[in-house]
Amino acid sequence: MTNGQAVVQLSNVRKEYGESVALDGVSLEIHAGEAVAVMGPSGSGKSTLLSMVAGLDRPTSGSVVVHGEDLGKLDEKGLALYRRRRIGMIFQFFNLLDDLSALDNVALAAQLTGTSASPARKRALELFEELGIADRRNIYPAQLSGGERQRVAVARALMNRPAVLLADEPTGALDTRAGEQVMDLLLDLNQIGQTLLLVTHDQQLATRCASRLVEVVDGQIAGERTLERTA
């Protein structure tokens, strides 16, 4: 489900870490409502690519424009505000704060935008209900299963209604069943219009959730193809 408008535009992006080149002349467009999977061997540069889109790192050269914002022109604060408003991220290892309950972990994302605690929790609870984990809202991350943690992470990523949802190996740390649930969740989100950029090793995740596959090898895009989603 796409509407043809490019939400993410990477133009000739190069990223160097010292003498090693993580990305080398990568250009890529992701359109609104699209679900793109980036695959490639370890060290190929796919996570670096995700970091560029997330504004977690800056390219050595080239440009990254997301939702009309040229990330290269933003300072640190600008990047933080960008991440806050435009994107949501899901990590392989969930990255939840152990000290906060599941609900407070999710509400935190809204509170950072200035929303006060009560409406932030209300919105978080709505997401918990949508994701089927409302009964786990007061549990702390250490007491949640892997799948539940990743759902909490997804809820947090969706909290501020991001333009792009970025997922870095979202099923990598989950067992098969939990992985399936997360795949279903991502698919559902995309089907209601959420733009998705996935980085994964998992062919099944890619073919199930993504409409386009981008292959990255040695920091370069080695190929692209449209996917027929499997049920």
Binding site: T48, S51, K77, D99, D104, A109, Q143
Partner: protein
Amino acid sequence: MSAVWSVSRAAVRRRRLQTIVIGVVVALSTTMIVVALGLLAASSAPFDQAYARQSGAHLVASYDRNKVSDEQLTNAAKAAAAVAGPFGTKTLDFGNGLSVVAVGRADAGGPVDRLNVWKGRWPDKPGEIVLNRNPVSAGGRGDIAVGSKLSEPGGPTLIVVGLAYSVSESAGAWVTPAQMAAFKPTSTQMLYRFAQAATGEQITSGQAAVTAGLPSGSLLGAQSYLTLRAAAVGEPNTFVPFLMVFGWLGLIVAVLIVANVVSGAVVAGFRHIGVLKALGFTPTQVLSVYLAMTSIPAIVGCALGTVAGNVLAESLLTRAFENYGAGGVGVPAWVDVAAMLGVPLLVALSAFLPALRARGLSAAQAISAGSAPRAGRGLQAQRWLSGTRLPRSVSLGLGLPFARPARTALTLAAVVLGVTSVTLAVGLGKSLTTYQTAASRAGAVDVTFSAGTAEAGPGPVPEGADAPPAAKLSDPADEALMRSTAGAQYVTPSADLPMRLGGTSQDLRVAFYRGDPTHVGFRVLEGKWFDGPGQVVVSERFLRQRGLSVGDTITLQTGGKSTPVRIVGKALYNSGDEVLSNWETLALIAPNTRAQTYEVQLKPGTDIDAYVKAVQAGDSGLVETPGQDAGTFVAIVLATVVLLTLMLGTVAALGVFNTVVLNTRERRRDLGMLKSIGMTPAQVMVMVVTSMAALGAIGGLLGIPLGIIAHRLVIPAMANGAQVEIPAFMLDVYPLPLLAIFVLAGILIAALGAFIPARSAARTTIAEVLHNE
């Protein structure tokens, strides 16, 4: 190189920041401890050594020749361990303020009071004299050189043939016995050493033994060496109490920081410990690694601190004991040894408990954990805070200390001690300043005029163009002039006379006030002001150094005249050789003396310069003299206190710094995540600084009472060392607004300590952190 050593070295290199923090903190603490112990141990050593070299007299006694014979004195002296005398004694008044107690003595040696003839020679015939001069302090302006001639009015001329030094202060000058006989001595001096002379009681007992059987009233006066000793050690003993407190505070902070560093290293290094064990390190080897990791910087810091402590202590001791030729007085070796062994041992002990945890971990458990689990701590606090209206970065920061309660407690303790130091230091500063202000009589005397006839010191008074200005009008006319000049509130004239305490060779300066003495700003601490002839008021130091108390009677001597006076009060001032009295007493001693000094208190709003000009227009010979000395010693103490406070404040801030470094490293992933969902660098900084500022505020609240208690203990101990009395009001130096500022000091210490690591956390590269799982 052993595996343990190699891994320890790597750990030191890897934790450069913590290594530097430990090294600096241990160095600062060791410096303070070494200075304090050095002063404590060496405080009396230069005096004792000088005294031992000269076989100084434990008791210098003066007897009335009309009541006791030399033979009686010699027989009675058999109770002493060693004795010198009897020597004929007479006060010689050479005019111009040069008056000395001269003793007729055949040679400089002997069993007691072996004099150091450091210039010229000992007199070997009548007409020659040797003066008592300290080789270190002699040679100032107006001092008398070898070859000079001195004579009493109508008396023979004496040639100064040498300069000698008596630590016992047994005389001001020496002549041959034949010369003394020609002078017709007025008293007899005996110098005693006793087998037991460590305490005042033993000296008293010795004195009783050597005067037993002597005719009543034959003893005119006696001077114990403990009096001289007390005066000598007063200055270093003043430093000891607060240096000891600061030193211990510093050491406790160092222990807390080391415990924090090691426990932090263990908590963050579970995987590292697991790997070491998997490689084959025994539990004891792992323990050794963690102990060595802190011992290396501790030993280096301790060595540097010991050197710095020696340098500082030597400088303070040399200043205090320069009169005893004690240049280069050092810290005793045992202090250095104790510091070099004790401080690293203490550090190792503080590292031991957390290191034991590393020792006990199983390899599999450690490797799989990666770092110590944090779940379950402080969750209620976080939950409550997340519901408050505080900005989220602030509420998250406030919740952070609850995650690691033990680390928080250690950091809090460091801040508490930092605030305690600041509270103590400010209190010390205020008490000392208040004391100095009161002792210098600032505010009570606005202008002091000299009539130009005051004592100009020993030696000839310059004449002609170099002659000092002298008052043109008479004493009553000058007083009337000052009183009648617009702006005058009170005018108190006084005359200073150099006198001597009866039975000793101790020079005193007696200030005789005319009129109401309460207007010149002295505060009476005990007894009352003089209100009749034959009364004096003295300082606490005067009483202590001579074992006297209010109500006792002493004899003041000048020009061969002795006047008994009663001590009716004790006033607040520093000098141990200055006595206050009144014009009626002066009339008994030296009638017709004119006032040399006029202390004037002006009405509020009076232009001081205009007043001085108006008075000098009436008598151009009146000279305005500077007010009281601001107090070099107090300035040194204050500077030392400020320095130590900055050092301890820095040490406490380093404790916070270390905790924040540990926290932010341990929470790198959380920080990365927070940034990934939009937390700005400024918010990260606010969060991290807030986490410590809260501790700072609590530390402030806890540290203030501790600081006040320390102040209440240290000030009296310092006063005791300095032989002064601190009135109760000088301890009440903590008004409420000041206490509020101390709470801010805690916050400031914490915020400063947190700032750099917080900034570093704010700059964390998120991508790297989040992908390095």
